[in-house]
């Protein structure tokens, strides 16, 4: 089976190669002292000039966190985390706004460049005065970007354009200052402070993140996008995202994540909350390619994320799409609470684990309203020593008459040292509900490879074709801009997978 051997070698070479986003920007940073205690929570709140109620909210979360234990049920293993040995606040030192790109810290620009952010948007992001006023070139539908650089949202672009529609798209700290009533109403309403260990930690120390508010009946004219970067050494990133879609509105939100190469494991514990009212649609897409650690499993990001959306209104819809290629450990279950009648939840996921990467990811679909529907499509690819687990829950309450769920989980194994696991939970208490679950595990079939090679495709192209086909159902859910990036990421993994 030379093909298989080559495939294994190829995968190995890919992941041992340099991490494309493994750069570190050297810019002045402002840190809070290491460690975690009530004073740090107060320090963060004070730094961000937060109102009293938010400080109380944070302190309550911190008190809850101290009583909680780290979850041990995921199928992942890692050395104990010392929560006192990390910085919980890091911000680039603020200077007066530069007049042109030439004045911007070139390191920062290089970071944006490597991230693939267009020059025009770079200028806006770097806070060049007046850069946001000229329209985007080429008539192309622009993407509004909110870059979270470590803890502080550096800049928000296209704000004015969105403002005309009444859309609010800003950092969460800004939202706390400008729209406190909205933040206060919705913050923690989907993921309460004490929801789980990492959500409680996030609630206590979150530093920034994005805030989106789409008013009634508005269809957001562009894709909203945030790039998260973990930059400084030993800082945890605890961003908090809150998206509210009022009745009849529509928004598509993109989240891209990269982190520089590091030896120490870094903790990332984000919380994302989505709220969709009557007839509203939220589409949330993630491409996550944080540093996965080296071939021996040293370094890499611990990605412990709580994402949950509430379909509060009738006929509302929340759709999660994720492509998870990075992180040493991924622990993530984007979920939907289908409260409104006829509401729809979707989860499309591709997760790749290579070398020593571990992923325990999936979704939860809570069917509460009548005729609620959910679709779960999960594709797991394991290579090297990677361990990939799908863990999901479909729960149908007695009142969810006519509810419908379809779940499909497929796993692909490349190499004989990796693992693929499927742990679905189906809890149905409604007679008229229907649930279906299917799961398969296999490797790339020799006859498929043979068929492709017979037609003149190189082995690499053949594996690429087959894996792309394997993931197609998920990739086609991504917005155009991301589909390209995601395919590139798959390609990078594939380059390694065959000679």
């Amino acid at each position: 089976m030379p093909a298989v051997t080559e495939t294994i070698d190829a995968v190995a070479s890919v992941t041992q190669g340099t991490y494309k986003y493994g750069f570190e920007t050297e810019i002045d940073m402002e840190f809070a002292p290491k460690g975690l205690n009530e004073d740090i929570v107060r320090f963060i709140s004070a730094k961000k000039e937060e109102p009293e109620w938010l400080l109380e909210w944070r302190l309550k979360a911190f008190a809850l966190w101290k009583t909680m234990a780290e979850p041990r049920w995921p199928a992942v293993s890692y050395p104990p985390i010392d929560y006192q040995d990390a910085y919980y606040y890091a911000a680039p030192v603020k200077k007066d706004g530069p007049k042109s790109l030439d004045e911007v810290d070139p390191e920062l620009l290089r970071t944006y460049e490597k991230l693939g952010i267009p020059l025009k948007e770079q200028a806006i992001l770097a806070g060049v005065e007046g850069a946001g006023d000229t329209p985007a070139e080429g008539g192309r539908l622009p993407i509004a970007v909110d870059a979270v650089f470590d803890s502080v949202s550096v800049a928000t672009s296209y704000k004015e354009r969105l403002g005309k529609e009444g859309i609010i798209f800003c950092s969460i700290s800004e939202a706390v200052r400008e729209h406190p009533e909205l933040v206060r109403q919705y913050l923690g309403s989907v993921v309460p402070q004490g929801d789980n260990f990492f959500a409680a930690l996030n609630s206590a120390v979150f530093t920034d993140g994005s805030f989106v508010y789409i008013p009634k009946g508005v269809r957001c004219p562009m894709e909203l996008s945030t790039y998260f970067r973990i930059n400084a050494k030993s800082t945890g990133q605890f961003e908090r995202t809150l998206i509210i879609a009022e009745a009849g509105s529509h928004v598509s939100y993109l989240e891209g994540c990269t982190a520089p190469m590091r030896d120490e494991n870094q903790l990332h514990a984000a919380v994302v909350e989505l709220v969709a009212m009557d007839d509203a649609t939220i589409k949330y897409s993630t491409v996550q390619n944080w540093y996965p650690g080296d071939a021996e499993g040293r370094g890499g990001i611990y990605n412990f994320v709580t994402k949950r959306g509430a379909c509060r209104g009738a006929r509302s819809k929340i759709s999660w799409t994720q492509v998870e290629t990075g992180s040493a450990i991924t622990w993530k279950y984007p979920s939907c609470i289908l409260q409104g009648d006829d509401s729809v939840g979707e989860f499309y996921s591709v997760a790749i684990t290579n070398n020593r990467q571990q992923a325990d990811t999936g979704t939860k679909m809570f069917h509460i309203g009548k005729n609620t529907r959910s679709t779960i499509i999960s594709k797991g690819i394991s290579a090297g020593y990677g361990q990939n687990t799908y863990r999901g829950l479909v729960k149908i309450s007695p009142k969810a008459s006519g509810a419908r769920n379809f779940t499909q989980c497929d796993s692909l194994l490349i190499g004989d040292q990796c693992g693929a696991h499927t742990v679905p939970y189906i809890e149905n208490r409604c007679m008229t509900a229907k649930t279906e679950h299917e799961a398969t595990t296999s490797r790339i079939a020799e006859d498929q490879l043979f068929y492709c090679r017979q037609r003149g495709l190189s082995e690499e192209d053949a594996v690429g074709l087959i894996v792309n086909g394997f993931c197609r159902e998920v990739l086609k859910e991504l917005p155009m801009e991301f589909a390209v990036e995601a395919q590139k990421l798959l390609q990078i993994s594939l380059e390694g997978s065959v000679g």
């Binding site: 004989d416 693929a420 509900a433 229907k434 279906e436």
Partner: protein
């Protein structure tokens, strides 16, 4: 006698069982054998350390043992000679255990089944080799308290024929029995074992058997398990099976009786081309809870496994299916298939299903499926359009749903026994 019954009844939960062990220990069969005394003491200690599982234990997430842990139970009385009404034979040859003890009077002669209690001295190194006690408290309890059980040992090449193993509980008082059955098939041996659990009476009781089944190379066992306990009974059984190269463990589990039943199977395929079928059906009516939990270990290459479990729920009932397939790295070319289907016939029923794949080998073909739904309206319409009354049509569709699972049992006598147990279930529960 009455005083001691009252005593043991007054104490509920794990402590009551531990006191029972202390009180009974000197009288338990084989306690004079050092190896067995050590096995029992170790198991009692393991049970003391764990207690009864709670719903916080992942494997018990959906099944609550409160009916067992919150009530007191006593030990069964010595049998008195009285005519015990028994169900019809399911096989020409039958052995009967009453309250976990072998009953020679009720059993047929010339059957290759012996009483375990009378042959303990020769079972060192054979008994307790498969049953794990460290993480399975009910198995630990069984190991500490078992008094008797069936001992079936077939020589290489021997055909044991079709045997019915009937366990009867006289539920006139809240008693518990913990029989331990040991089945060992030599190379190429063959056996059809129709195992029935049956209860008489209105009282609550616990029947908690443990099976250890050793299948040598090329041997084949069909294990049809028919649980027809009385409606107040609790049935908690555990089967351990180890299958060597080319051997087959072919089982079918039917849950029809009991207020609370859970059957756990731990099957290990340890030789190339060993096969396992873990099929089953649960028929649960008002007030019943049924739990079918299986762990299948693919520890050798080229092994096929098949599992189809169907659950039908009526009234206020709850069905649980948990099935885990673990494929070790050496188990290349594993072919595993698992299907779990449930039919909800009432708006007060609940089904919880957790099919699970844990795979560490790459050249495998593993799939599982799970569906939950109500009877298909189109199918009902089709039948009614042909003049079949609604009740009959429903009954037909339910039986067809179940028959598909029973069809997986290739052994005719076992299939007939299962069909008989299933027949007319809906008519009895529709009322």
């Amino acid at each position: 006698m009455n005083a001691s019954v009252e005593n043991s009844l007054s104490e509920a939960g794990a402590a009551g069982f531990l006191h029972r062990y202390e009180g009974l220990r000197a009288r338990l069969p084989g306690i004079g054998l050092p190896w067995l005394a050590a096995l029992r003491d170790g198991a009692a200690e393991a049970f003391r350390a764990q207690g009864f599982p709670t719903r916080r234990v992942e494997a018990w997430k959906y099944t609550d043992l409160a009916p067992l842990t919150q009530a007191g139970f006593g030990e069964p009385l010595t049998p008195v000679e009285s005519a015990l009404p028994l169900p019809r034979h399911a096989a020409p040859k039958r052995v009967v255990f009453v309250d976990g003890r072998f009953s020679p009077e009720l059993s047929d002669t010339d059957v290759p089944v012996r009483s375990l209690a009378r042959h303990l001295p020769e079972l060192e190194g054979r008994l307790g080799t498969l049953a794990r006690v460290d993480d399975l408290p009910l198995v630990a309890l069984n190991t500490a308290l078992f008094e008797d059980g069936a001992l079936i040992e077939l020589a290489p090449g021997e055909d044991g024929g079709v045997i019915e193993l009937l366990s009867v509980t006289r539920a006139d008082r809240p008693v518990t029995s913990h029989p331990r059955h040991l089945v060992r098939l030599g190379e190429g041996a063959k056996l059809v074992l129709i195992e029935r659990s049956w209860g008489h009476g209105e009282s609550r009781y616990l029947h908690s058997p443990v099976f250890e089944v050793e299948v040598a190379e090329g041997a084949h066992i069909t294990h049809a398990r028919i649980q027809q306990e009385a409606r107040a009974g609790l049935h908690l059984s555990t089967v351990f099976a180890r299958v060597a190269a080319g051997g087959t463990y072919d089982s079918f589990l039917l849950h029809a009786g009991a207020r609370l039943s859970r059957s756990e199977a731990h099957v290990a395929l340890v030789g190339p081309k060993a096969a396992a079928h873990l099929n089953g059906a649960q028929l649960l009516g008002d007030g019943q809870h049924g739990d079918c939990t299986t762990f299948l270990d693919h520890a050798a290459p080229d092994c096929p496994s098949r599992q189809t479990v169907k659950t039908v729920l009526a009234g206020r009932s709850r069905g649980v299916f948990q099935g885990k397939i673990h494929v070790h790295q050496v188990a290349q070319r594993t072919d595993g298939y698992q299907m779990n289907q449930a039919l909800l016939l009432s708006d007060q029923a609940e089904i919880d299903s957790k099919p699970q794949l844990e795979i560490y080998a790459d050249d495998v073909k593993c799939s599982h499926g799970a569906t939950v739904g109500e009877l298909d309206e189109d199918q009902l319409f089709y039948l009614r359009a042909r003049g079949i009354p609604a009740a009959v049509a429903r009954s037909m569709l339910i039986e067809a749903f179940l028959q598909e699972a029973i069809d997986g049992v290739t052994e005719e006598s076992a299939q007939a026994a299962l069909s008989e147990a299933v027949a007319g279930w809906w008519e009895r529960n529709a009322a």
